[in-house]
């Protein structure tokens, strides 16, 4: 039975997080009641500004910290009471570099294989599999200090993949990597995931990565999950697309716009939130561009406003992030706190 089939028969929950809090030194609420559920086999992205608690959450889930209150389970195992069980089914790559640089890539994997107790008969195969899935076969015999940043990151992930964990935790997996190295990391990860059905839980503040590679996204801010869903759900939930109309004939066009209250009439249209004019550009914020556009076009046409170009801008995950995490943080600047990240 393939993994995908099995998954359909029995949709399991990989991570259940219930009212989790973590208070540092009795004052800093790094986690302030996190509720979250991650399904088995998904790629899950946790987004949040610096100091929002995303690293703390990951460190609680990987049994490094005890939560102050609340419960978290990985495949039914409590991360506090059954931490030894949890450690056996998870792989973890911290934000910082986590391989020994004065030995070779192969030796790093070998030491990890021994720590994890991979039997000597299957050790070599496991190491070769891990090297191959991260595309490192050619450099396995080189000292790690000669590796590039992208290669080091792939080696770290290879170390975590060695025992085929059921959940792989990645803390900012592509931080500081150039675009091609980032792409290589993700391509290797995706093909590994496809083969083994591993659940991947990663922290990031690269919105494009969350958008491209994740099945589900949650946004954390000030220790709370403020938004949860698929990337496209979140974008749709913003209800804001901006349609820009570039006016063809600025003088007469502008005149016409203002003469007969066109602006106000556009604003009054169904699904339109706002309309503003910047120079010769009319920006209309709409909830659903596909429905609103014909109505706006018709109105402009009736009034004789000629257009040179129309451009619709879809919201990106950046906009979602700014709305739920960025803005909120600005508003509460005075109460802003930062936990050890």
């Amino acid at each position: 039975m393939t993994y995908a089939k099995l998954q359909k028969v029995n949709m399991k929950i990989a991570l259940e997080i219930d009212r989790l809090t973590k208070i540092y030194e009795g004052r800093v609420n790094a986690l302030d009641g996190v509720d979250l559920e991650v399904k088995d086999g998904v790629i899950f992205a946790l987004l949040g500004p610096n100091g929002s608690g995303k690293t703390t959450l990951m460190r609680v889930l990987t049994t490094q910290f005890r939560p102050t209150s609340g419960v978290a389970r990985a495949f039914g195992h409590d991360v506090v009471r059954e931490d030894a069980q949890v450690r056996k089914i998870i792989g973890y790559v911290p934000q910082e570099m986590s391989v020994w640089t004065d030995i070779t890539g192969f030796e790093n994997l070998l030491i990890y294989a021994k720590i994890y107790g991979v039997s000597s008969s299957s050790r070599n195969k496991c190491i070769q599999d891990a090297l191959q899935s991260m595309g490192l076969e050619e450099v396995e015999g080189k000292l790690v200090k000669k590796y590039s940043g992208g290669m080091i990151r792939r080696l770290e992930i290879a170390c975590a993949l060695l025992v085929k964990p059921r959940i792989l935790f990645l803390d900012e997996p592509t931080l500081g990597l150039d675009p091609s190295a980032r792409k290589a990391v993700w391509e290797n990860l995706m093909s590994f995931k496809k083969e083994y059905g591993t659940t991947v839980f990663f922290n990031t503040h690269y919105m494009d990565e969350a958008d491209l590679y994740s099945d589900e996204v949650a946004i954390i801010n000030k220790g709370k999950i403020v938004k949860f869903g698929t990337a496209s759900d979140l974008k749709r939930s913003l209800h804001s697309e901006i349609i820009s109309f570039l006016l063809a004939d600025d003088q007469t066009g502008m005149g016409r716009l203002f003469r007969s209250n066109v602006l106000d009439r556009i604003k009054a249209l169904n699904l339109v939130d706002d309309a503003v004019v910047h120079g010769t550009v009319l920006d209309v914020t709409v909830e659903d561009g596909e429905v609103a556009l014909p109505a706006i076009m018709e109105l402009l046409n009736c009034e004789g406003v000629k257009l040179k170009r129309v451009k619709a801008t879809n919201p990106t995950l950046d906009d979602v992030f700014l709305k739920y995490a960025g803005m909120r943080q600005q508003r509460n600047q005075s109460g802003y706190h930062h936990g050890p990240n």
């Binding site: 450690r87 004065d102 030995i103 991979v118 059921r166």
Partner: protein, 270 residues
């Protein structure tokens, strides 16, 4: 594919009883592999002890006031110098731990399915092995300088066992300090401040009977004193009457410090 995954997990679970031992061996292997890739440190660290023997030992041997029990002075200080060089390796082993804390290696080791006791003891033993290799470099130099060792190989083996045990203990002490200090700068300061007093407040360079009473009481609780006494008996004088007391003292020290280091280790990542 799933069978492969679950098989892998089962393999990990069923090996629980030997987990700790396995990790200790992995840590020793790591240290050996590091050493194989870069031996410069072992050589450069051999310079100082060789100077102690060749310069300090040779000059001081003309001062005939130090009661060495009829042993030439260079021979007398050789065990102390050997021990000092190994302890140097051990005391600065904490730096490796501080470095691994600054990077993500420690976090990762703590998330691996093994106990922190195994991590600490494994690392300390690994450092003991490294320190013993250090002594092996100095040993032939001492022979070249004319130091006469006891020819009984069992005695020499026992002396190296003592070197290994005390080095492991001091490495654990170093890990303990590292888990409290956490930064490289603070650790360097403490490390420097530990070595020389340990060396001077012991019988490494002169008999305890020459010391003022205050220093004598420090030497009495200094584990290095017992290690020097054992190694001197086994390698140089052949007088092994205190050997059981010496080994007992060092074993007690090891147990205490391994326990303390294991307990404090978890603090290091917080």
């Amino acid at each position: 594919m799933l069978e492969c995954v679950s098989k892998e997990i089962n393999q990990v679970t069923t090996m629980a009883p030997t987990e700790s031992l396995r990790e200790m061996f992995a840590m020793i292997e790591l240290e050996m592999r590091r050493l194989r890739h870069d031996r410069t440190e072992i050589y450069t660290r051999a310079v100082q002890p060789i100077l102690w023997l060749a310069v300090y030992g040779t000059v001081m041997s003309h001062v005939r006031d130090i009661p060495t029990g009829g042993i030439p002075y260079i021979d007398y200080i050789t065990p102390g110098v050997l021990l000092q060089s190994t302890i140097f390796v051990s005391v600065f082993y904490g730096l490796t731990i501080v470095w691994e804390r600054e990077t993500g290696i420690l976090k990762r080791l703590l998330v691996a399915p093994s106990s922190r006791y195994a991590t600490v003891i494994g690392r300390a033993i690994a450092s003991g092995v490294r320190a013993t290799v250090q002594a092996l470099i100095i040993f032939p130099v001492a022979i070249l300088l004319g130091v006469k060792f006891i020819s009984n190989p069992l005695y020499i083996l026992a002396a190296f066992l003592m070197l290994f045990m005390i080095s492991g203990g001091f490495a654990a002490l170093s890990i303990f300090v590292a888990s409290l200090m956490k930064t490289r700068e603070r650790f360097m300061g403490i490390g420097q401040a530990m070595i020389m007093p340990l060396f001077f407040a012991s019988n490494a360079l002169y008999p305890i009977s020459l010391m003022p009473p205050f220093l004598q009481s420090i030497a009495f609780v200094n584990p290095l004193t017992y290690a020097v006494d054992a190694v001197r008996g086994l390698m140089i004088s052949g007088n092994v009457t205190n050997i059981f007391a010496d080994f007992t003292a060092v074993i007690v020290f090891d147990i205490l410090i391994f326990t303390a280091a294991s307990i404090s280790f978890r603090k290091i990542i917080e």
